[in-house]
Protein backbone atom coordinates (compact mmCIF):
# COMPACT_ATOMS: atom_id res chain seq x y z
CA UNK A 1 0.00 0.00 0.00
CA UNK A 2 1.44 3.34 -0.95
CA UNK A 3 0.78 6.84 -2.20
CA UNK A 4 2.97 9.68 -3.35
CA UNK A 5 2.20 13.34 -3.92
CA UNK A 6 2.65 14.60 -7.47
CA UNK A 7 3.80 18.08 -8.38
CA UNK A 8 3.03 20.28 -11.32
CA UNK A 9 -0.55 19.08 -11.87
CA UNK A 10 -2.34 22.18 -10.64
CA UNK A 11 -0.48 24.87 -8.73
CA UNK A 12 -3.05 25.57 -6.07
CA UNK A 13 -3.97 22.00 -5.30
CA UNK A 14 -2.76 18.65 -3.98
CA UNK A 15 -2.43 15.66 -6.30
CA UNK A 16 -1.42 12.10 -5.48
CA UNK A 17 -0.89 8.75 -7.12
CA UNK A 18 -1.73 5.60 -5.16
CA UNK A 19 -1.13 1.90 -5.73
CA UNK A 20 -2.29 -1.37 -4.23
CA UNK A 21 -2.01 -5.03 -5.01
CA UNK A 22 -5.81 -5.20 -4.82
CA UNK A 23 -8.74 -2.76 -4.52
CA UNK A 24 -8.68 -2.91 -0.72
CA UNK A 25 -5.08 -1.70 -0.67
CA UNK A 26 -5.75 0.93 -3.33
CA UNK A 27 -8.73 2.41 -1.48
CA UNK A 28 -6.84 2.38 1.83
CA UNK A 29 -3.85 4.08 0.18
CA UNK A 30 -6.10 6.80 -1.28
CA UNK A 31 -7.76 7.31 2.11
CA UNK A 32 -4.26 7.55 3.67
CA UNK A 33 -3.34 10.34 1.21
CA UNK A 34 -6.53 12.23 2.08
CA UNK A 35 -5.85 11.84 5.83
CA UNK A 36 -2.22 12.90 5.47
CA UNK A 37 -3.28 16.02 3.53
CA UNK A 38 -5.87 17.02 6.17
CA UNK A 39 -3.72 16.48 9.28
CA UNK A 40 -0.75 14.61 10.67
CA UNK A 41 -2.42 11.24 11.37
CA UNK A 42 -0.10 10.53 14.31
CA UNK A 43 -1.49 13.59 16.10
CA UNK A 44 -5.06 12.22 16.02
CA UNK A 45 -6.45 9.93 18.72
CA UNK A 46 -8.67 6.95 17.88
CA UNK A 47 -11.89 8.04 19.57
CA UNK A 48 -14.67 7.96 16.98
CA UNK A 49 -15.55 5.20 14.54
CA UNK A 50 -17.66 5.80 11.41
CA UNK A 51 -18.97 3.10 9.08
CA UNK A 52 -18.86 3.92 5.36
CA UNK A 53 -20.87 2.06 2.74
CA UNK A 54 -20.86 3.16 -0.92
CA UNK A 55 -22.29 1.65 -4.09
CA UNK A 56 -21.49 2.98 -7.57
CA UNK A 57 -21.80 2.11 -11.25
CA UNK A 58 -18.09 1.48 -11.80
CA UNK A 59 -14.76 1.43 -9.97
CA UNK A 60 -13.91 5.08 -10.84
CA UNK A 61 -17.20 6.40 -9.43
CA UNK A 62 -16.74 4.11 -6.44
CA UNK A 63 -13.36 5.58 -5.49
CA UNK A 64 -14.55 9.12 -6.20
CA UNK A 65 -17.67 8.72 -4.00
CA UNK A 66 -15.67 6.93 -1.28
CA UNK A 67 -13.19 9.83 -1.01
CA UNK A 68 -16.02 12.36 -1.20
CA UNK A 69 -17.64 10.63 1.80
CA UNK A 70 -14.46 11.27 3.82
CA UNK A 71 -14.58 14.95 2.79
CA UNK A 72 -18.27 15.06 3.78
CA UNK A 73 -17.66 13.55 7.24
CA UNK A 74 -14.81 16.01 7.86
CA UNK A 75 -17.20 18.97 7.46
CA UNK A 76 -20.58 17.56 8.51
CA UNK A 77 -19.28 15.89 11.68
CA UNK A 78 -16.02 17.81 12.14
CA UNK A 79 -13.88 14.67 12.31
CA UNK A 80 -10.28 14.07 11.20
CA UNK A 81 -9.22 10.47 10.70
CA UNK A 82 -6.05 8.50 11.39
CA UNK A 83 -7.10 5.15 9.94
CA UNK A 84 -9.47 3.83 7.29
CA UNK A 85 -9.90 0.06 6.98
CA UNK A 86 -11.74 -1.41 4.04
CA UNK A 87 -13.75 -4.42 5.23
CA UNK A 88 -15.55 -5.46 2.03
CA UNK A 89 -14.91 -4.38 -1.56
CA UNK A 90 -15.85 -5.12 -5.16
CA UNK A 91 -15.65 -2.89 -8.26
CA UNK A 92 -19.08 -1.45 -7.49
CA UNK A 93 -19.37 -1.51 -3.70
CA UNK A 94 -17.21 -0.76 -0.70
CA UNK A 95 -17.65 -0.98 3.06
CA UNK A 96 -15.07 0.60 5.36
CA UNK A 97 -14.47 1.73 8.93
CA UNK A 98 -12.94 5.16 9.49
CA UNK A 99 -11.38 5.96 12.86
CA UNK A 100 -10.45 9.37 14.19
CA UNK A 101 -11.41 12.19 16.53
CA UNK A 102 -13.34 15.48 16.63
CA UNK A 103 -11.31 18.29 15.11
CA UNK A 104 -9.35 20.28 17.67
CA UNK A 105 -6.68 22.66 16.39
CA UNK A 106 -5.09 22.91 19.86
CA UNK A 107 -4.47 19.17 20.10
CA UNK A 108 -3.98 18.06 16.50
CA UNK A 109 -1.50 19.03 13.80
CA UNK A 110 -3.99 20.15 11.18
CA UNK A 111 -2.88 20.72 7.58
CA UNK A 112 -5.13 21.62 4.62
CA UNK A 113 -8.90 21.64 4.34
CA UNK A 114 -9.78 19.47 1.33
CA UNK A 115 -12.69 21.25 -0.38
CA UNK A 116 -13.44 18.59 -2.96
CA UNK A 117 -12.18 15.57 -4.84
CA UNK A 118 -11.92 16.78 -8.43
CA UNK A 119 -12.35 14.92 -11.69
CA UNK A 120 -9.26 16.65 -13.04
CA UNK A 121 -7.08 13.78 -14.36
CA UNK A 122 -8.96 11.42 -12.05
CA UNK A 123 -8.13 7.84 -13.05
CA UNK A 124 -8.39 4.31 -11.67
CA UNK A 125 -6.67 1.57 -13.63
CA UNK A 126 -5.73 -2.07 -13.41
CA UNK A 127 -2.01 -2.75 -13.73
CA UNK A 128 0.18 -5.85 -13.80
CA UNK A 129 0.91 -5.30 -10.11
CA UNK A 130 -2.71 -4.65 -9.10
CA UNK A 131 -4.45 -1.26 -9.13
CA UNK A 132 -3.37 2.34 -9.55
CA UNK A 133 -5.20 5.67 -9.11
CA UNK A 134 -4.54 9.34 -9.75
CA UNK A 135 -6.44 11.93 -7.70
CA UNK A 136 -6.36 15.75 -7.55
CA UNK A 137 -7.87 17.32 -4.45
CA UNK A 138 -9.01 20.94 -4.34
CA UNK A 139 -7.64 22.62 -1.22
Amino acid sequence: MSFKYIEGIALAEAAFEAEGKDLKELFEACAAAFMDTSANPTSIKSVIQKEISINAKDVESLLYNFLEELVFLKDAEAIVFNKVEVTEISETSVKATAIGDKINKEKQELRADVKAITMHMFKVEKTDAGWKAMVVMDI
Binding site: Y5, A12, A14, F72, K105, K115, A116, T118, M119
Partner: protein, 481 residues
Protein backbone atom coordinates in the same frame (compact mmCIF):
# COMPACT_ATOMS: atom_id res chain seq x y z
CA UNK B 1 5.75 27.68 -23.03
CA UNK B 2 3.91 30.45 -24.86
CA UNK B 3 1.85 28.98 -27.74
CA UNK B 4 3.31 29.75 -31.18
CA UNK B 5 0.00 31.04 -32.49
CA UNK B 6 -0.28 33.78 -29.89
CA UNK B 7 -0.50 37.34 -31.28
CA UNK B 8 0.72 40.32 -29.32
CA UNK B 9 -1.88 43.12 -29.53
CA UNK B 10 0.01 45.63 -27.38
CA UNK B 11 2.37 45.72 -24.40
CA UNK B 12 -0.14 43.99 -22.12
CA UNK B 13 -2.67 42.21 -24.36
CA UNK B 14 -2.33 38.94 -26.28
CA UNK B 15 -4.70 36.93 -28.42
CA UNK B 16 -5.03 33.30 -29.44
CA UNK B 17 -6.99 33.45 -32.70
CA UNK B 18 -10.16 31.47 -33.27
CA UNK B 19 -9.56 28.07 -34.84
CA UNK B 20 -11.15 24.64 -34.92
CA UNK B 21 -14.25 24.55 -32.76
CA UNK B 22 -13.55 27.79 -30.91
CA UNK B 23 -16.52 30.18 -30.98
CA UNK B 24 -14.37 33.16 -29.96
CA UNK B 25 -10.66 34.00 -29.65
CA UNK B 26 -8.79 33.93 -26.32
CA UNK B 27 -7.66 37.28 -24.90
CA UNK B 28 -4.95 37.33 -22.24
CA UNK B 29 -3.95 40.39 -20.21
CA UNK B 30 -0.30 40.10 -19.18
CA UNK B 31 3.15 41.56 -19.57
CA UNK B 32 5.58 39.35 -21.48
CA UNK B 33 7.06 38.24 -18.14
CA UNK B 34 3.67 37.32 -16.67
CA UNK B 35 2.73 35.49 -19.87
CA UNK B 36 5.98 33.50 -19.83
CA UNK B 37 5.30 32.61 -16.21
CA UNK B 38 1.88 31.11 -16.96
CA UNK B 39 1.78 27.30 -16.98
CA UNK B 40 0.96 25.58 -20.30
CA UNK B 41 -2.40 24.28 -19.15
CA UNK B 42 -3.73 27.86 -18.88
CA UNK B 43 -3.70 28.18 -22.66
CA UNK B 44 -5.34 24.78 -23.27
CA UNK B 45 -7.99 25.53 -20.67
CA UNK B 46 -8.71 29.01 -22.06
CA UNK B 47 -9.13 27.46 -25.53
CA UNK B 48 -11.49 24.81 -24.11
CA UNK B 49 -13.58 27.61 -22.58
CA UNK B 50 -13.68 29.32 -26.01
CA UNK B 51 -15.28 26.10 -27.31
CA UNK B 52 -18.25 26.39 -24.93
CA UNK B 53 -21.60 27.09 -26.53
CA UNK B 54 -22.88 30.65 -26.34
CA UNK B 55 -19.60 32.30 -25.26
CA UNK B 56 -19.46 35.96 -26.38
CA UNK B 57 -16.56 38.14 -27.59
CA UNK B 58 -13.58 36.42 -25.92
CA UNK B 59 -12.47 33.75 -23.48
CA UNK B 60 -10.55 36.09 -21.17
CA UNK B 61 -7.54 35.35 -18.94
CA UNK B 62 -6.55 37.92 -16.33
CA UNK B 63 -2.87 38.63 -15.50
CA UNK B 64 -3.05 36.53 -12.31
CA UNK B 65 -4.14 33.53 -14.42
CA UNK B 66 -2.92 30.02 -13.73
CA UNK B 67 -4.32 26.61 -14.53
CA UNK B 68 -7.26 25.30 -12.55
CA UNK B 69 -9.55 22.48 -13.53
CA UNK B 70 -11.76 23.01 -16.53
CA UNK B 71 -11.55 26.80 -16.55
CA UNK B 72 -8.28 28.54 -15.73
CA UNK B 73 -8.14 30.55 -12.50
CA UNK B 74 -8.36 34.18 -13.63
CA UNK B 75 -10.81 33.11 -16.35
CA UNK B 76 -13.78 35.20 -17.45
CA UNK B 77 -16.52 34.05 -19.84
CA UNK B 78 -19.85 35.67 -20.68
CA UNK B 79 -22.40 33.22 -22.07
CA UNK B 80 -25.56 34.21 -23.93
CA UNK B 81 -28.48 33.60 -21.56
CA UNK B 82 -30.55 31.85 -24.24
CA UNK B 83 -27.94 30.00 -26.26
CA UNK B 84 -25.17 29.52 -23.76
CA UNK B 85 -24.17 27.09 -21.02
CA UNK B 86 -23.47 27.37 -17.31
CA UNK B 87 -20.50 25.43 -15.91
CA UNK B 88 -19.64 24.76 -12.25
CA UNK B 89 -16.00 24.56 -13.38
CA UNK B 90 -16.27 28.19 -14.50
CA UNK B 91 -17.12 29.25 -10.98
CA UNK B 92 -14.96 26.99 -8.84
CA UNK B 93 -15.64 24.67 -5.93
CA UNK B 94 -15.58 27.55 -3.47
CA UNK B 95 -18.68 29.35 -4.73
CA UNK B 96 -18.52 33.09 -3.96
CA UNK B 97 -15.06 32.93 -2.53
CA UNK B 98 -14.47 36.65 -2.16
CA UNK B 99 -12.84 39.59 -0.44
CA UNK B 100 -14.17 42.08 2.06
CA UNK B 101 -12.33 45.25 3.10
CA UNK B 102 -13.07 47.56 6.00
CA UNK B 103 -11.60 50.86 7.09
CA UNK B 104 -11.03 52.25 10.60
CA UNK B 105 -10.03 55.67 11.92
CA UNK B 106 -7.12 54.11 13.85
CA UNK B 107 -3.53 54.61 12.78
CA UNK B 108 -0.51 52.32 13.01
CA UNK B 109 0.58 54.17 16.17
CA UNK B 110 -2.70 53.29 17.89
CA UNK B 111 -2.39 49.62 16.98
CA UNK B 112 1.31 48.71 16.96
CA UNK B 113 1.66 47.93 20.67
CA UNK B 114 -1.55 45.93 20.73
CA UNK B 115 -1.14 43.98 17.49
CA UNK B 116 -0.23 40.72 19.25
CA UNK B 117 -3.17 40.97 21.62
CA UNK B 118 -5.50 41.80 18.74
CA UNK B 119 -4.32 39.00 16.43
CA UNK B 120 -4.40 36.45 19.28
CA UNK B 121 -7.98 37.45 20.08
CA UNK B 122 -9.06 37.33 16.42
CA UNK B 123 -7.47 33.87 16.09
CA UNK B 124 -9.32 32.68 19.19
CA UNK B 125 -12.68 34.15 18.19
CA UNK B 126 -12.81 33.48 14.41
CA UNK B 127 -12.83 29.74 13.71
CA UNK B 128 -10.05 28.80 11.27
CA UNK B 129 -8.59 25.64 9.78
CA UNK B 130 -9.73 22.18 8.67
CA UNK B 131 -13.47 21.50 9.16
CA UNK B 132 -13.89 24.33 11.69
CA UNK B 133 -17.35 24.99 13.12
CA UNK B 134 -18.92 28.41 13.50
CA UNK B 135 -20.43 30.07 16.56
CA UNK B 136 -23.80 30.95 14.97
CA UNK B 137 -26.18 28.12 15.82
CA UNK B 138 -28.83 27.75 13.12
CA UNK B 139 -31.76 25.44 12.54
CA UNK B 140 -32.55 24.31 8.98
CA UNK B 141 -35.24 26.99 8.55
CA UNK B 142 -32.80 29.74 9.50
CA UNK B 143 -30.12 28.30 7.23
CA UNK B 144 -32.67 28.37 4.38
CA UNK B 145 -33.32 32.06 5.14
CA UNK B 146 -29.60 32.68 4.73
CA UNK B 147 -29.60 30.80 1.42
CA UNK B 148 -32.33 33.08 0.05
CA UNK B 149 -31.48 36.43 1.66
CA UNK B 150 -27.70 36.26 2.25
CA UNK B 151 -26.11 38.99 4.35
CA UNK B 152 -29.51 40.58 5.08
CA UNK B 153 -30.64 37.80 7.43
CA UNK B 154 -27.50 37.83 9.53
CA UNK B 155 -27.58 41.64 9.78
CA UNK B 156 -31.21 41.56 10.90
CA UNK B 157 -30.17 39.01 13.50
CA UNK B 158 -27.53 41.20 15.04
CA UNK B 159 -24.38 40.50 13.03
CA UNK B 160 -23.67 43.88 11.49
CA UNK B 161 -25.01 47.29 10.58
CA UNK B 162 -27.87 47.94 8.18
CA UNK B 163 -25.67 50.25 6.11
CA UNK B 164 -23.21 47.39 5.47
CA UNK B 165 -25.62 46.01 2.85
CA UNK B 166 -25.16 48.84 0.34
CA UNK B 167 -21.43 48.08 0.26
CA UNK B 168 -21.71 44.43 -0.75
CA UNK B 169 -21.79 43.23 -4.36
CA UNK B 170 -25.49 42.61 -5.23
CA UNK B 171 -26.34 44.00 -1.78
CA UNK B 172 -25.25 40.67 -0.30
CA UNK B 173 -27.91 38.60 -2.05
CA UNK B 174 -27.99 36.98 -5.50
CA UNK B 175 -31.57 36.69 -6.74
CA UNK B 176 -32.95 33.33 -7.84
CA UNK B 177 -31.77 31.18 -4.92
CA UNK B 178 -33.92 28.11 -4.26
CA UNK B 179 -33.00 25.87 -1.29
CA UNK B 180 -35.01 22.98 -2.81
CA UNK B 181 -32.23 22.64 -5.38
CA UNK B 182 -29.57 22.06 -2.70
CA UNK B 183 -28.77 18.53 -1.45
CA UNK B 184 -29.11 17.46 2.19
CA UNK B 185 -25.41 16.65 2.10
CA UNK B 186 -24.57 20.25 1.23
CA UNK B 187 -26.75 21.52 4.08
CA UNK B 188 -25.14 19.09 6.56
CA UNK B 189 -21.67 20.26 5.49
CA UNK B 190 -22.49 23.96 5.70
CA UNK B 191 -25.03 24.54 8.45
CA UNK B 192 -22.39 24.81 11.18
CA UNK B 193 -19.87 26.77 9.12
CA UNK B 194 -21.30 30.32 9.09
CA UNK B 195 -18.65 32.65 10.49
CA UNK B 196 -15.63 30.45 9.69
CA UNK B 197 -12.55 31.17 7.58
CA UNK B 198 -11.56 27.66 6.48
CA UNK B 199 -7.98 27.01 5.31
CA UNK B 200 -5.90 27.16 2.11
CA UNK B 201 -5.30 30.76 1.08
CA UNK B 202 -8.11 32.16 3.24
CA UNK B 203 -7.19 34.80 5.78
CA UNK B 204 -8.22 37.76 7.90
CA UNK B 205 -5.62 40.51 7.88
CA UNK B 206 -4.91 43.84 9.55
CA UNK B 207 -3.20 46.30 7.24
CA UNK B 208 -1.77 49.79 7.04
CA UNK B 209 -2.27 52.35 4.27
CA UNK B 210 1.07 54.16 4.17
CA UNK B 211 1.06 57.63 2.66
CA UNK B 212 3.58 56.65 -0.03
CA UNK B 213 1.36 53.74 -1.08
CA UNK B 214 -1.64 55.88 -1.98
CA UNK B 215 -1.90 56.19 -5.76
CA UNK B 216 -5.16 58.11 -6.00
CA UNK B 217 -5.79 60.59 -3.19
CA UNK B 218 -9.27 61.65 -4.28
CA UNK B 219 -10.63 58.13 -4.38
CA UNK B 220 -8.81 57.08 -1.20
CA UNK B 221 -10.37 60.08 0.55
CA UNK B 222 -13.82 59.24 -0.77
CA UNK B 223 -13.32 55.73 0.61
CA UNK B 224 -12.41 57.08 4.07
CA UNK B 225 -8.68 56.44 3.77
CA UNK B 226 -7.62 59.89 4.85
CA UNK B 227 -4.81 59.85 7.39
CA UNK B 228 -1.20 58.68 7.09
CA UNK B 229 -0.67 55.08 8.28
CA UNK B 230 -4.38 54.44 8.59
CA UNK B 231 -5.39 50.92 9.66
CA UNK B 232 -7.65 48.79 7.45
CA UNK B 233 -8.62 45.12 7.49
CA UNK B 234 -9.46 42.44 4.96
CA UNK B 235 -11.34 39.12 5.01
CA UNK B 236 -10.85 36.41 2.36
CA UNK B 237 -13.13 33.33 2.42
CA UNK B 238 -16.13 31.75 0.73
CA UNK B 239 -19.06 29.39 1.14
CA UNK B 240 -17.09 26.65 2.92
CA UNK B 241 -18.22 23.00 2.71
CA UNK B 242 -21.70 24.11 1.67
CA UNK B 243 -20.56 25.62 -1.64
CA UNK B 244 -18.00 22.86 -2.21
CA UNK B 245 -20.76 20.24 -2.01
CA UNK B 246 -23.13 22.21 -4.30
CA UNK B 247 -20.35 22.39 -6.90
CA UNK B 248 -19.48 18.66 -6.59
CA UNK B 249 -23.17 17.64 -6.78
CA UNK B 250 -23.84 19.54 -10.01
CA UNK B 251 -20.52 18.70 -11.65
CA UNK B 252 -21.60 15.07 -11.50
CA UNK B 253 -25.20 15.79 -12.56
CA UNK B 254 -24.05 17.76 -15.60
CA UNK B 255 -21.71 14.98 -16.77
CA UNK B 256 -24.75 12.69 -16.93
CA UNK B 257 -26.89 15.13 -18.98
CA UNK B 258 -24.27 16.48 -21.39
CA UNK B 259 -24.85 13.73 -23.99
CA UNK B 260 -28.61 14.51 -23.92
CA UNK B 261 -27.87 18.11 -24.92
CA UNK B 262 -25.29 17.08 -27.51
CA UNK B 263 -22.40 18.67 -25.61
CA UNK B 264 -18.97 17.11 -26.09
CA UNK B 265 -16.98 16.45 -22.91
CA UNK B 266 -13.60 18.14 -23.47
CA UNK B 267 -12.55 17.88 -19.84
CA UNK B 268 -14.71 16.39 -17.07
CA UNK B 269 -14.11 19.48 -14.94
CA UNK B 270 -15.64 21.56 -17.73
CA UNK B 271 -18.98 19.82 -17.33
CA UNK B 272 -21.86 22.13 -18.21
CA UNK B 273 -25.51 22.32 -19.21
CA UNK B 274 -27.51 24.85 -21.24
CA UNK B 275 -28.34 27.74 -18.88
CA UNK B 276 -31.99 27.60 -19.98
CA UNK B 277 -32.31 23.81 -19.39
CA UNK B 278 -33.96 22.52 -16.18
CA UNK B 279 -30.55 21.26 -14.96
CA UNK B 280 -28.86 24.59 -15.76
CA UNK B 281 -31.58 26.51 -13.93
CA UNK B 282 -31.37 24.15 -10.94
CA UNK B 283 -27.63 24.68 -10.66
CA UNK B 284 -27.99 28.45 -10.87
CA UNK B 285 -30.60 28.34 -8.06
CA UNK B 286 -28.33 26.15 -5.90
CA UNK B 287 -25.24 28.22 -6.71
CA UNK B 288 -27.11 31.38 -5.65
CA UNK B 289 -27.86 29.69 -2.28
CA UNK B 290 -24.14 29.03 -1.80
CA UNK B 291 -23.21 32.56 -2.94
CA UNK B 292 -25.64 34.01 -0.41
CA UNK B 293 -24.23 31.78 2.34
CA UNK B 294 -20.78 33.17 1.54
CA UNK B 295 -21.97 36.80 1.79
CA UNK B 296 -23.49 35.91 5.19
CA UNK B 297 -20.28 34.13 6.22
CA UNK B 298 -18.10 37.18 5.54
CA UNK B 299 -20.68 39.41 7.24
CA UNK B 300 -20.56 37.37 10.46
CA UNK B 301 -16.75 37.42 10.37
CA UNK B 302 -16.82 41.22 9.93
CA UNK B 303 -19.04 41.41 13.02
CA UNK B 304 -16.51 39.34 14.98
CA UNK B 305 -13.66 41.57 13.79
CA UNK B 306 -15.56 44.63 15.06
CA UNK B 307 -16.14 42.90 18.43
CA UNK B 308 -12.46 41.99 18.78
CA UNK B 309 -11.24 45.54 17.97
CA UNK B 310 -13.80 46.89 20.41
CA UNK B 311 -12.55 44.61 23.20
CA UNK B 312 -8.87 45.37 22.61
CA UNK B 313 -9.19 49.17 22.18
CA UNK B 314 -12.09 49.58 24.62
CA UNK B 315 -13.99 51.70 22.12
CA UNK B 316 -17.15 51.00 20.16
CA UNK B 317 -16.79 49.89 16.50
CA UNK B 318 -18.89 52.96 15.57
CA UNK B 319 -16.43 55.22 17.37
CA UNK B 320 -13.54 53.57 15.50
CA UNK B 321 -15.53 54.06 12.26
CA UNK B 322 -15.14 50.41 11.34
CA UNK B 323 -17.04 50.84 8.08
CA UNK B 324 -17.34 48.17 5.44
CA UNK B 325 -15.69 49.53 2.30
CA UNK B 326 -16.84 46.75 -0.01
CA UNK B 327 -17.34 43.01 -0.46
CA UNK B 328 -16.61 41.39 -3.83
CA UNK B 329 -17.14 37.86 -5.14
CA UNK B 330 -14.34 36.33 -7.21
CA UNK B 331 -15.75 32.83 -7.90
CA UNK B 332 -19.24 33.28 -9.25
CA UNK B 333 -21.76 33.26 -12.10
CA UNK B 334 -24.12 36.22 -12.39
CA UNK B 335 -26.72 37.43 -14.85
CA UNK B 336 -25.61 40.81 -16.18
CA UNK B 337 -26.57 43.02 -19.12
CA UNK B 338 -23.67 43.81 -21.47
CA UNK B 339 -23.14 45.18 -24.93
CA UNK B 340 -21.86 42.65 -27.41
CA UNK B 341 -20.79 44.35 -30.64
CA UNK B 342 -23.29 47.14 -29.90
CA UNK B 343 -26.16 44.75 -29.19
CA UNK B 344 -27.48 44.71 -25.61
CA UNK B 345 -27.50 41.15 -24.33
CA UNK B 346 -28.11 39.35 -21.08
CA UNK B 347 -25.14 37.18 -20.21
CA UNK B 348 -24.35 34.52 -17.63
CA UNK B 349 -21.04 36.01 -16.50
CA UNK B 350 -18.64 33.36 -15.23
CA UNK B 351 -15.84 34.82 -13.11
CA UNK B 352 -13.44 32.27 -11.69
CA UNK B 353 -10.64 33.96 -9.83
CA UNK B 354 -11.76 37.24 -11.37
CA UNK B 355 -13.54 40.25 -9.89
CA UNK B 356 -16.40 42.42 -11.12
CA UNK B 357 -15.14 45.97 -11.72
CA UNK B 358 -18.11 48.27 -12.32
CA UNK B 359 -17.22 51.80 -13.36
CA UNK B 360 -18.97 54.94 -12.01
CA UNK B 361 -21.67 54.67 -14.70
CA UNK B 362 -22.82 51.22 -13.48
CA UNK B 363 -22.72 52.33 -9.80
CA UNK B 364 -25.28 55.13 -10.34
CA UNK B 365 -27.33 55.66 -7.18
CA UNK B 366 -24.53 54.72 -4.75
CA UNK B 367 -23.58 57.81 -2.72
CA UNK B 368 -19.82 57.26 -3.12
CA UNK B 369 -19.14 54.72 -5.85
CA UNK B 370 -21.15 56.57 -8.52
CA UNK B 371 -18.25 59.01 -8.47
CA UNK B 372 -15.31 56.68 -7.83
CA UNK B 373 -16.35 53.39 -9.42
CA UNK B 374 -16.73 50.13 -7.52
CA UNK B 375 -13.92 49.17 -5.13
CA UNK B 376 -12.06 46.07 -6.32
CA UNK B 377 -10.19 44.17 -3.62
CA UNK B 378 -7.06 42.34 -4.77
CA UNK B 379 -5.74 40.01 -2.08
CA UNK B 380 -2.00 39.49 -2.13
CA UNK B 381 0.19 37.09 -0.23
CA UNK B 382 0.60 37.73 3.47
CA UNK B 383 4.12 39.04 2.83
CA UNK B 384 3.59 41.46 -0.01
CA UNK B 385 0.26 43.05 0.81
CA UNK B 386 -2.95 43.72 -1.06
CA UNK B 387 -4.45 46.40 -3.32
CA UNK B 388 -7.63 48.41 -3.54
CA UNK B 389 -8.52 49.35 -7.10
CA UNK B 390 -11.42 51.27 -8.61
CA UNK B 391 -13.50 50.01 -11.56
CA UNK B 392 -13.66 52.25 -14.62
CA UNK B 393 -16.25 52.72 -17.34
CA UNK B 394 -13.72 51.25 -19.77
CA UNK B 395 -14.09 47.91 -17.95
CA UNK B 396 -17.07 47.28 -20.27
CA UNK B 397 -14.39 45.90 -22.62
CA UNK B 398 -13.90 42.86 -20.38
CA UNK B 399 -17.56 42.59 -19.40
CA UNK B 400 -16.58 44.62 -16.31
CA UNK B 401 -14.04 42.07 -15.05
CA UNK B 402 -10.54 42.33 -13.65
CA UNK B 403 -7.96 40.27 -11.73
CA UNK B 404 -8.54 38.86 -8.22
CA UNK B 405 -5.18 38.34 -6.54
CA UNK B 406 -1.51 37.79 -7.05
CA UNK B 407 -1.97 34.31 -8.54
CA UNK B 408 0.22 31.36 -7.62
CA UNK B 409 3.42 30.65 -9.51
CA UNK B 410 4.67 27.75 -7.36
CA UNK B 411 2.95 24.55 -6.19
CA UNK B 412 2.06 24.05 -2.55
CA UNK B 413 4.49 21.15 -2.12
CA UNK B 414 7.34 23.13 -3.70
CA UNK B 415 6.69 26.05 -1.34
CA UNK B 416 6.80 23.71 1.67
CA UNK B 417 10.19 22.39 0.52
CA UNK B 418 11.61 25.91 0.44
CA UNK B 419 10.52 27.12 3.85
CA UNK B 420 9.06 25.70 7.06
CA UNK B 421 5.96 27.31 8.53
CA UNK B 422 7.75 28.07 11.79
CA UNK B 423 10.69 29.78 10.04
CA UNK B 424 8.33 31.79 7.88
CA UNK B 425 6.33 32.93 10.91
CA UNK B 426 9.57 34.08 12.55
CA UNK B 427 10.81 35.83 9.41
CA UNK B 428 7.53 37.69 9.02
CA UNK B 429 7.58 38.67 12.69
CA UNK B 430 10.97 40.33 12.07
CA UNK B 431 9.39 42.21 9.18
CA UNK B 432 6.64 43.49 11.48
CA UNK B 433 3.89 41.05 10.45
CA UNK B 434 2.45 39.01 13.32
CA UNK B 435 0.79 35.81 12.05
CA UNK B 436 -1.23 33.09 13.74
CA UNK B 437 -2.14 30.00 11.73
CA UNK B 438 -4.07 26.80 12.44
CA UNK B 439 -1.47 24.95 10.35
CA UNK B 440 2.28 25.51 9.98
CA UNK B 441 2.42 23.54 6.73
CA UNK B 442 -0.51 25.60 5.42
CA UNK B 443 1.41 28.74 6.35
CA UNK B 444 4.47 27.64 4.36
CA UNK B 445 2.27 26.90 1.33
CA UNK B 446 1.18 30.55 1.31
CA UNK B 447 4.69 32.06 1.42
CA UNK B 448 5.11 35.23 -0.62
CA UNK B 449 7.55 33.64 -3.10
CA UNK B 450 4.82 31.12 -4.12
CA UNK B 451 2.91 34.02 -5.70
CA UNK B 452 3.41 36.27 -8.72
CA UNK B 453 4.38 39.87 -8.22
CA UNK B 454 1.04 41.47 -7.34
CA UNK B 455 2.29 44.89 -8.52
CA UNK B 456 2.71 43.73 -12.10
CA UNK B 457 -0.74 42.12 -11.99
CA UNK B 458 -2.49 45.36 -10.96
CA UNK B 459 -0.30 47.44 -13.29
CA UNK B 460 -1.44 45.39 -16.30
CA UNK B 461 -5.10 46.04 -15.49
CA UNK B 462 -4.37 49.73 -14.97
CA UNK B 463 -2.56 50.01 -18.31
CA UNK B 464 -5.47 48.22 -19.96
CA UNK B 465 -7.70 50.90 -18.42
CA UNK B 466 -9.97 48.36 -16.69
CA UNK B 467 -9.18 49.26 -13.07
CA UNK B 468 -7.06 52.00 -11.49
CA UNK B 469 -4.82 51.69 -8.47
CA UNK B 470 -6.07 53.47 -5.35
CA UNK B 471 -3.86 52.19 -2.54
CA UNK B 472 -1.67 49.24 -1.64
CA UNK B 473 -2.04 47.94 1.90
CA UNK B 474 0.80 46.49 3.96
CA UNK B 475 0.00 43.64 6.38
CA UNK B 476 0.83 43.98 10.09
CA UNK B 477 -1.24 41.11 11.46
CA UNK B 478 -2.82 38.05 9.89
CA UNK B 479 -4.79 34.98 10.90
CA UNK B 480 -4.83 31.96 8.60
CA UNK B 481 -6.57 28.62 8.47
Amino acid sequence: MIPEKIKQINEFTWELPKEGEMHVPVKIFATKDLLEGMDDAVFTQAVNVANLKGIQKYSYVMPDGHSGYGFPIGGVAGMDINEGVISPGGIGFDINCGMRALTTNLTYNDVKDKIKELVDLLFERIPTGVGCKGFVKLNRGEFQEIMTTGAKWVIENGYGWEKDLQNIEEYGCIQGANPDKVSDKAISRGINQIGTLGSGNHFMEIQVAKKENIFNNDIANAWNIKQPDQVTAMIHCGSRGFGHQVASDYLKKFLDVMPKYGIKILDRELSCAPFSSPEGQDYFSAMACAANMAFANRQVILHRVRECFSQVFDRSPEDMEMNLLYDVAHNIAKIEAHNVNNNPKKLVMHRKGATRAFGPHRMKGHPVFEKTGQPVIIGGSMETGSFLLAGTDKSEETFCSTAHGAGRCMSRSQAKKQVSGKDLQKKLMEKGIYIKSASFSGLAEEAGFAYKDIRSVVDVMEKAGITKKVVSLIPIGNIKG
